[in-house]
């Protein structure tokens, strides 16, 4: 009986029923909607930027440099005469690529390390966790900065730098999950009937352990984009035809006194994205928390 109940919960968790987002009409519900719309807009602009952007992002209207926001140029123009609105739209793609791939690498590398350390325990745990702890003593942005500076500026190196600096976090969370779940009665029950270790790990522990990782990855997406923007801002980014949001911010900062719009709008785009992803991540956490679903 007990086993069945557990099985059913396992099946229940991944079902992301959208109606659960909207059970009550409250401030938090509205904010979730707004956040989802913001994310959708950003996703669309990353996938199909030319649908939304009024100008090509590389066109330099050299007769119209540093023009303040107007109907013609919604976010104004930068010091090359490029349309800032179009740049922000097109820049979303690289920002998202940096964020998503850094998080994916972080999860794919950090998750298994934490899972193995937590599941096997003993000397493996000690070795892995000491390495992770050494990495954790260095602040994430500093680590990313050092890696990016050492590898040299390129998009892949930026992604790697952010990914490596996020590995310890994912490893720690996964390890904690493992340690707590492997002591659960249903694991002991399964072991007592002779299930192999690998099967227990794959069928009983992992399905119950991944939801905090999902929440963490969602929120990590926001911070990865922030870190990427930070690296670009500090001049460790790449000079590309179409700059990402961080690079735009960096270019705009020297013009704050003469053209506030150059840095402000890319900055707002980053803020909006990070805020939206945090709101959604928060909501996901509520939905995926087994303790809360048990309450229902």
């Amino acid at each position: 009986m007990k086993n069945v109940a557990n099985e059913s919960r396992v099946v229940q968790i991944p079902k992301l029923n959208i109606s659960k987002f909207t059970t009550r009409f409250s401030f938090s519900t509205i904010s979730v909607y707004v956040a989802l719309i913001v994310l959708l807009c950003i996703l669309v602009s990353a996938l199909f930027p030319s649908w939304l952007a009024p100008y090509a992002p590389t066109v330099m209207h050299t007769d119209r440099i540093l023009v303040a926001p107007s109907a013609k140029h919604l976010f104004g123009t930068d010091y090359f005469g490029r349309d800032v609105f179009s740049l922000v739209i097109h820049g979303s793609r690289d920002s998202l690529i940096i964020g998503v791939s850094a998080v994916l690498i972080g999860v794919v590398v950090g998750g298994p390390i934490g899972a193995l350390a937590g599941y096997i325990g003993g000397i493996v745990d000690v070795i892995f966790m000491r390495i992770i702890e050494i990495l954790m003593t260095i602040p994430g942005i500093l680590l990313a900065l050092a890696i990016a500076a050492a590898l040299g500026p390129s998009l892949i190196n930026i992604v790697l730098a952010i990914a490596i600096s996020s590995v310890p976090g994912y490893a720690r969370v996964m390890r904690g999950q493992m340690i707590s779940i492997k002591k659960r009665p249903y694991v002991a029950a399964s072991r007592s009937i002779g299930t192999s270790g690998g099967r227990i790990l794959l069928w009983h522990i992992l399905p119950n352990a991944w939801s905090p990782m999902l929440v963490m990855a969602t929120i990590g997406l926001g911070s990865a984009i922030l870190t990427g923007a930070g690296l670009s801002f500090l001049g460790l980014g790449v000079i590309k035809e179409i700059p990402d949001w961080g690079a735009l911010l960096s270019q705009g900062r020297n013009y704050l006194t003469v053209g506030w719009w150059m840095a402000t709008f890319p900055g707002l785009a980053i803020t909006a994205f990070v805020l939206a992803i945090n709101i959604v991540g928060d909501r996901l956490q509520d939905l995926l928390n087994p303790k809360m679903s048990r309450g229902r």
Partner: protein
Amino acid sequence: MRGNLYQTKYLVVFIALVLFLSGCSQGANPDGSTQKSGVQTTAEPTYGGELTFALATSPDTLDPHRSSRAVAVRAFRTIFDSLVVQEADNSIQPWLATKWTVSDDGKSYTFELREDVTFHDGTPFNAEAVKYNFDRILNPATKALNSRALLKPYESAEVLDEYTVKLNLSTPSSSFLSNLSQAMLGIVSPTAAEKYGDQFGKNPVGTGPFKFVSWTENADIKVEKNSDYNWGPSYVENQGQPYLDKLIFKIVPEEATRVGGVQSGQVLAAETVPPQNIVSLENDPNTQLLKVNTLGLPYTLFFNQRREPWKDVNVRKAVMLAVDVETIVKTLYMGTYERSWSPLTPGILGYDETLENSWEYDPDTANKLLDEAGYVMGADGIREKDGKKLTLNYVDASPNREKRNDIAVIVQQQLKEVGIAVEINVTPDFMTVIYEKSDYDLYGNSQVNSDPNALREIYHTPDGSRVLESLVGGYDPKLDELLEQGTVESDPAKREEIYKEAQQIIIDKAMIIPIYIFPYTVAASNKVNGITFDSLGYPLFNDAYIQQ
């Protein structure tokens, strides 16, 4: 009771606030502590005070013989004097040397030296010291770069008596005196150079108007006045001790912070003002903007002719015609920088004015030239030949000095129009990429220099004596000949003709794309007076004083 307690609390907070604020206002007045008593109302220079001057980047070393950065010269020009000085009209005047004679064959220079000069550490300045200095530059252990190039063709020195020294050259050199006037050939104290060895750059000792005090890495360089100073060059008005007690060079790489510092009073002066701020500073009643065009080689993009297809003059010409320099300079520098047309800057001996407006942006001809060279437009808008895409590897140094990285961004767009794909590679390690590996198609650089002979180091076929790899990598026999003549010719009028022809060949062969002439700019508080610039555009502080 309760009310009273609250009142007491407010009073304490209020007092704390007053104390805090008064502390702030004292802190905001950096020269408050050293000001002389008594308010001066006349415009006469006053002694005392300290000047804070924000530099854009950190000097590499304060050893003039080892430095290769213009920013270092700005700092160590205050510490070191030269044998001679070059006036604005390019004439050479006495400084540490009172007079000199040149032998008939042009291969030896005999200098008579001032007898009243001592180094900051008490070492007397004499003929031995001069000999020591130039031999030090030649010594490979010193690892001299720019100074070695400037000292060429110096061979040896003979001490004739205590204050007479004869310098022997391997070949005549008409730029020798002019080069001697440069700070990178400034005279260092032999005692200190021996004592500190490799560390001399951190403990510089010279004969200049200011003495070195301290250098905090990436923060500031402090110098104080040399009260014994009495041997200033004719170029400045005050040949005696400087008016300022102290001069502090603060290193502030962030341009907005640097200029903002002048407006908020944290520093009294700041160098290299970005164009967008030049425009706004001109309307600020409390600050002044000093601007001087630098002398030497303008900011120029060099083709690497070691590589295909840049060996082909027509392909180079196509790129030259497809880059709209006028738009680049106007857009990025908002009318504050002048466009350059020649491998030399205006004002230098032999500058060829006829090159100005001698070609214009012409993408049609560029396309035609590329078609003729066999590059056909591909489906993706990039030209190709034998299956190879026409790409151009544009290397630039970081950080983004004078918006040079932004030039690359515009060039990338402009060359795309004619079907050339530009890859921009921005690297802090340009010394390796450019000079060791020659891994570039296009690279931009500029050089502050006093004599057109500087061209030889870049455009002449390597003859084994070159300090750094040439930037062009492709040579022309006629140009070689002219540059050799220019080095030895002693008649200035003839030299002018020689260098004019040399400039025409360089442009004609499209070896480079000249971009802009760098104006050295200083934003200063109105309290600061008397900052002047030498003929190369480096700031001088001999006449500087702070109005009380």
